[in-house]
Amino acid sequence: MWTREDNSPGGHAFPQQLLQDCKDGKLKAQRQVYDALSPKMMALCLRYMGNREDAEDVLQEGFITLFTKLDSYQGAGSFEGWARRIFVNTALMHLRRTDALGLSDDITEAHGLFTEEATPVQKMGYRELMQMVAALPPDARTVFNMYVIEGYSHKEIAKELGCTEATSRSKLQRARIRLQEMINETK
């Protein structure tokens, strides 16, 4: 029924007419987009917030923002990619509101990530990895998600979070070390 207009591999197709119907406020079209995006965006929100309750709050607010600001999507890049940025920003707003980020300019180098005794991460499944990421401290979790999963640069992260690039690198390293420790503990 839908033509493949989205170039992202494995991504969901969002025809122009469907998006136009959403802009026109047609609930049926909005529900279709919601049904298509909500499972992935819920996983995204869960990665950032660390618990289901907060993740659902962010998901709800993110979709309201998405449909309200749909006019600003001009078609450049994939719709799903645009939607991801909406949800990342919404999650960051929530974290700032609760003061959970608390990023300080701590640039102490973190060491001891990939030792010989380290358990390969490839042994971890999705559910285990998700739980481990959720267990990270909020600041490290946020930087890890933005850099590793979303693909932000340290410069972009520093700008978004109001810290230095050195702090961003430091937090990322700490996140990696902590994850590896948790992976090792499952051995």
């Binding site: 049926k28 529900r31 919601y34 992935k40 819920m42 979709f63 449909f67 990895l129």
Partner: protein, 384 residues
């Protein structure tokens, strides 16, 4: 390298993962979107009120002096020259009436013309005779070009009304209007049938039951006629009759009452209402042909017909009995443009709240009792 492998694996595992979502999230999204839809109307209203307040303030504080009003609004006047023939007063009065229309009463009698004075014959001169100013005569505004008569008479009417301390419009006004409410939308919710809610359809009497959550509403439309009475400067009261049609489509169950039950079928609902509105109007800006007014009031609507069309291999008509009247209250700010002394166009955006909607068949009013209407129409000033 190992670090990069670590990142790539985690990214590939987590980026496109999916999680289950509670149904409550969509309800929250829907409610939030509904609130957002109302918000622009509040902003529009706030902007309208602010603009109206600015216009009023500008009018009050920047109002030109009476002298300049006279100077700019008085039509061109000529002096009636004394001639050898007496001009009867009754010939002068109809001129004034004809220009100003029926709405203007002659404020005072024109003073009597002085007796013509007998003079010796004056030799005819080639140049044009000089028109001498005749004292004791009022300046009578006369316009010669047809297109400007209405303009001047309109300004004259307003000025006369102000001078006499009386409203520009008096008497009755008749209006014909159309009305649009809200938007076509789909909504979550079922048919309101509290006595039978949740019970098996077969065990209930004749009726419509168990509508599925999705309902599609059509655009509510109204048309009406009204009567306004201007009882004081700037004040008027209005009433009339207003017909409203509301429709919706949903999926539900139908019980014919004699053992025939249709489950999960498409049903169209057509609601026909007749309302009696009552409003009080206050005009707070009168600038030329434009009037800005605020109004408040209420109304009562009666459900004339509530028809259901149940779609089957042949359609089934089911009519529900009438319910209690629907009461409402409204508040708005509108504008009116006077096309001529007898006819004006008006636009009345307003908020309307419907009371006791739980007793009524499902419609946009029951889902959203606070609604934004736009009423537009023609107003005929019958005057006196």
């Amino acid at each position: 390298m190992k670090e990069q492998e670590f990142d790539i694996y985690v990214r590939n595992t987590l980026r496109d993962a999916s999680e289950s979502v509670s149904p409550e999230v969509w309800k929250g999204v829907e409610a939030g979107l509904r609130r957002k839809k109302l918000l622009p109307f509040w902003r529009w209203t706030a902007a309208s009120v602010a603009a109206a307040a600015a216009v009023v303030a500008g009018f009050v504080f920047l109002k030109p002096s009476a002298a300049s009003i006279e100077e700019h609004s008085q039509p061109t006047s000529i002096f009636i020259a004394q001639s050898s023939e007496e001009i009867p007063q009754e010939q002068l009065l109809p001129i004034r009436k004809q220009i100003a229309g029926k709405q203007v009463r002659v404020a005072q009698e024109l003073p009597a013309l002085p007796e013509p004075v007998a003079e010796e014959p004056v030799p005819v001169q080639e140049e044009a005779p000089v028109q001498e100013e005749v004292t004791g005569l009022e300046e009578v505004p006369v316009v010669t070009e047809a297109p400007s008569v209405e303009e001047h008479s309109h300004a004259l009417l307003q000025q006369l009304a102000r001078e006499e301390g009386k409203p520009f419009r008096r008497g009755f006004g008749l209006s014909a209007s159309g009305n649009v409410q809200g938007n076509q939308r789909q909504d979550v919710g079922g048919h309101i049938a509290p006595r039978q809610f949740g019970a098996p359809v077969l065990q209930q009497g004749e009726g419509i039951y168990n509508a599925t959550p999705e309902t599609s509403f059509s655009l509510p439309l109204s048309a009406g006629v009204g009567l306004m009475y201007y009882f004081a400067p700037r004040w008027a009261v209005g009433s009339g009759l207003r017909y409203t049609y509301m429709g919706r489509t949903f999926m539900g169950d139908y019980n014919s009452g004699d053992g025939f039950v249709l489950a999960g079928t498409d049903i169209d609902n057509h609601q026909h209402w007749l309302g009696i509105p009552l409003n009080v109007y206050f005009t707070f800006v009168e600038k030329g042909r434009w009037h800005v007014h605020t109004f408040a009031g209420g109304g009562v609507d009666f459900l004339l017909r509530n028809d259901y069309l149940v779609h089957y291999n042949k359609d089934i008509h089911y009519m529900e009995k009438s319910r209690a009247p629907q009461w409402s209250a409204n508040l708005g700010v509108g504008v009116e443009y006077q096309l001529n002394p007898f006819l004006s166009l008006y636009l009345d955006p307003q908020f309307r709240y419907y009371f006791g909607t739980e007793q009524q068949p499902r419609s946009l009013r029951t889902i959203q009792p606070l609604r934004f209407d736009i009423e537009a129409g023609l107003r005929f000033n019958l005057g006196r």
